[in-house]
């Protein structure tokens, strides 16, 4: 075991996959000469050359679409979208085409492509640059949407994504890049762990309440659970990891065990991913519920730039902790 950053986990896994398979290549804005806006592709151009590390024009629809076409001919592109906010420019290719090709042509060809993209608020980037809009892509059958929360998960999920034959939107969170965590020593070897796409993770077992998150919120959930453990509250932390396909089973089983749930999400509440999870719990574990399912989400505003406003808008350790305590109080268990 060693301790590395989320950024390093991604970079080393991608490098290893490029060495393993000649068909894997990188494409995106500023990934080569500039070495990536968030430096995931640092050193890649020098190591692999222009054929396999392609700087593109600012042309999101053009290069995402090109990646799809190249994947139809058997290449395995890893496309970097500078941030998920710009994915909307390429939405026609991402939504109308990539996830449809396999079904629309009766299973004759598929699109083994990874679109890597950071998202998330908390960096004072303002309304158009702070969005978590993975929901749009999670809505689409044929798409796979992954959102790992730890360096170990990032490595295992990236390896799974590159080897998968379907289009994968790989969501990174700006707030996670520098976060550290333990990874197995072989994390970047061909023999390293490969995540099972469509499986949620249980980051921490507990018996009083289930806390569900993904990406940055799963990391935050672990922190909340650790703090509450000191107050003798046992929180089970579920990391969705795979937003589509969604693992309802793990969620339902956990809630059946604990009897209550709080969902923490870094995106807007209305029609959001938390709504889907709450509905799944209601469908699958209604009889086990001792209290209504609570959701903690981003304030429903275009995210402001000013730091106090932005902080107030985002879920925090405090707001998640409060939701957990209120839920447990409703259950009849008096906590602080």
């Amino acid at each position: 075991m060693s301790v590395i950053t989320y950024r390093q986990a991604l970079r080393e896994t991608i490098r290893a996959e490029m060495h393993r398979d000649e068909n894997v290549f990188l494409m995106g804005e500023e990934i080569g000469v500039f070495e990536g806006s968030y430096k995931i592709t640092e050193g890649m151009l020098t190591e692999f050359g222009e054929r396999r590390v392609r700087d593109t024009p600012i042309s999101e629809e053009g290069f995402v679409g090109s990646a799809i076409g190249s994947a139809m001919l058997g290449l395995r592109p890893i496309v970097e979208l500078m941030t998920i906010n710009f994915s909307l420019i390429a939405a026609d290719q991402i939504i109308n085409h990539a996830p449809k090709v396999y079904g629309m042509f009766g299973g004759q060809t598929s699109v083994p492509m990874v679109i890597r993209t950071p998202g998330g608020g908390g960096q004072q980037l303002g309304a158009t640059h702070s969005q978590n809009i993975e929901l749009f892509y999670s809505f689409i059958p044929g798409m796979k949407v992954l959102a790992p929360s730890t360096p170990a998960e990032a490595a295992a999920m990236m390896r799974a994504a590159v080897r998968d034959d379907d289009p994968v939107l790989f969501l990174e969170n700006l707030g996670l890049y520098n976060s550290k965590g333990e990874v197995p020593d072989n994390y970047a070897d061909d023999s390293g762990p490969v995540a099972e796409i469509g499986r949620a993770g249980v980051l921490r077992e507990g018996s009083d309440i289930t806390l569900i998150g993904y990406s940055r919120m799963a990391a935050l959930a672990t922190q909340v659970a650790e703090e509450l453990a000191e107050q003798d509250i046992s929180v089970e932390v579920i990391d969705l990891r795979s937003l589509r396909p969604l693992d309802r089973e793990t969620i339902v089983n956990s809630v059946a065990k604990t009897g209550s749930a709080v969902i923490a999400e870094d995106d807007w509440l209305t029609y959001g991913i938390g709504a889907e999870i709450a509905a799944s719990i209601q469908e699958g574990a209604f009889d086990f519920l001792d209290a209504p399912v609570r959701r903690v989400a981003m304030a429903e505003v275009p995210l402001p730039y000013a730091k106090p406003l932005e902080t107030a808008a985002l879920p925090s350790v405090e707001s998640v902790t409060t939701a957990i305590k209120e839920t447990l109080n409703a259950v009849g268990r008096r906590v602080g």
């Binding site: 290549f25 054929r51 392609r54 593109t56 024009p57 042309s59 629809e61 053009g62 290069f63 995402v64 679409g65 090109s66 990646a67 799809i68 076409g69 190249s70 994947a71 139809m72 001919l73 058997g74 290449l75 026609d92 290719q93 109308n96 085409h97 090709v101 396999y102 079904g103 629309m104 042509f105 009766g106 299973g107 004759q108 060809t109 598929s110 699109v111 083994p112 059958p141 044929g142 796979k144 998968d164 034959d165 379907d166 099972e196 796409i197 469509g198 499986r199 396909p245 693992d247 309802r248 089973e249």
Partner: protein, 367 residues
């Protein structure tokens, strides 16, 4: 003020008849080509014509659903373009794709079966009229979103270049497509990266009811590659030999010079945008001009005059074509519908063990 010298049609309501249709290129004379080849082109154009007529009929009888866009009037373009491709070359087309699919090497009966939504169709009934596809024929799809196929075709050419292959990608589209963002992005990338691709604009002067003059600030579409340093050529799309020669030249140059080209074929769409469109926006003169520019009739009389086609041969070809189209329709008619139990078979190429296929209240889909 805008340049008032530029001719603009006034409104969508009635398109003017007197369209400027400059045609370029030096077409091969019929006399320079062998009779067998000429008769073969004629047969193929006739096949597409009869196939499309049958398609229109079947649509009216509700044997075919969805949208249905025909190639009537564009047969010379279809055959000329496809003749220019080698078997190993790839084609991306728009939704007006039946003729292209047949010409690229998919059996007419499989194209018809796709139109009927049967499991024997090119896409097992999952695609329909707009989505003909066959990996072996290297027909990489008809695509239904205007311009959506351009980035993907560009990426296919990139894959060819990545591997150092010598295939060429042809990307077909209509004139209306040249104003969408994907067009500009694709041409720019193809030129930057020296990709072996030929973008072909079928200029039938109309995108639904909107004319080229109404939609394109530079209506000479073949010139519009200049912003990307892409050479363009315009050709008479009603002349199968001219289309073939121009396309062949550009395809072979794309192959040997490893760079993109732009081609524009001046065509006429004889009927409405789709089977259900009565084309009321078309002026009488314009509709008349389209009808009188029937490329099949013109080619037929050319061949007759040259002594390549006589009544017997014509009948022989017509009979064979009629038979082939009837066979395609019978095949489609008698093919099985896809079974509802296959509904979840094509969501993912890498299946997910945990994926729920349950639909509430439907016992058929219970796990």
């Amino acid at each position: 003020m805008a340049d008032t010298a530029k001719p603009k049609s006034g409104s969508a309501a009635k398109n003017s008849g007197g369209r400027r249709r400059s045609r370029k290129g030096t077409p091969t004379a019929v006399a320079d080509e062998s009779p067998e080849v000429l008769r073969e082109y004629y047969r193929r154009m006739l096949l597409i014509r009869r196939f499309e007529e049958r398609t229109g009929q079947a649509y009216t009888q509700a044997r075919i659903g969805g949208y249905c866009h025909l190639n009537l009037g564009e047969e010379a373009t279809v055959v000329g373009l496809m003749t220019a491709l080698q078997e190993r070359d790839y084609l991306f087309a728009n939704y007006r794709d039946h003729g292209y699919a047949i010409e690229k090497g998919i059996e007419p009966r499989r194209v018809m079966a796709e139109l009927y939504g049967r499991s024997t169709g090119t896409s097992k009934g999952w695609g329909g009229s707009m989505h003909m596809y066959d990996t072996d024929a290297r027909m990489l799809g008809g695509w239904g979103i205007v311009g959506g196929q351009l980035p993907m075709a560009t990426g296919a050419a990139m894959a060819v270049s990545y591997r150092g292959g010598d295939e060429v990608v042809m990307c077909q589209m209509g004139d209306g497509t040249t104003n969408i963002g994907a067009w500009h992005e694709s041409l720019n990338i193809a030129s930057l990266w020296n990709l072996p691709i030929v973008y072909v604009v079928i200029n039938n002067y109309l995108g639904m009811g909107t004319t080229v003059d109404m939609s394109s600030a530079e209506p000479d579409l073949y010139k519009r590659g200049c912003a990307f340093r892409i050479e363009g050529e315009r050709v008479d799309g009603q002349d199968v030999l001219a289309v073939r020669d121009t396309a062949r030249n550009l395809v072979e140059r794309a192959r040997s010079e490893q760079r993109p080209f732009l081609m524009e074929t001046m065509s006429y769409r004889m009927k409405g945008h789709s089977v259900v469109d009565p084309a009321k926006y078309r002026s009488k003169e314009d509709a008349q001009e389209a009808r009188s520019n029937d490329p099949l009739a013109a080619f037929e009389s050319q061949l007759e005059e040259a002594g390549v086609l006589d009544e017997d041969r014509k009948k022989e070809i017509a009979d064979a074509v009629r038979q082939e189209v009837a066979d395609a329709a019978d095949f489609a008619e008698n093919s099985p519908h896809p079974d509802a139990s296959t509904l979840f078979d094509y969501t993912y190429a890498s299946p997910v063990a945990n994926e729920s296929t349950r639909m509430p209240a439907d016992p058929v889909f219970a796990d």
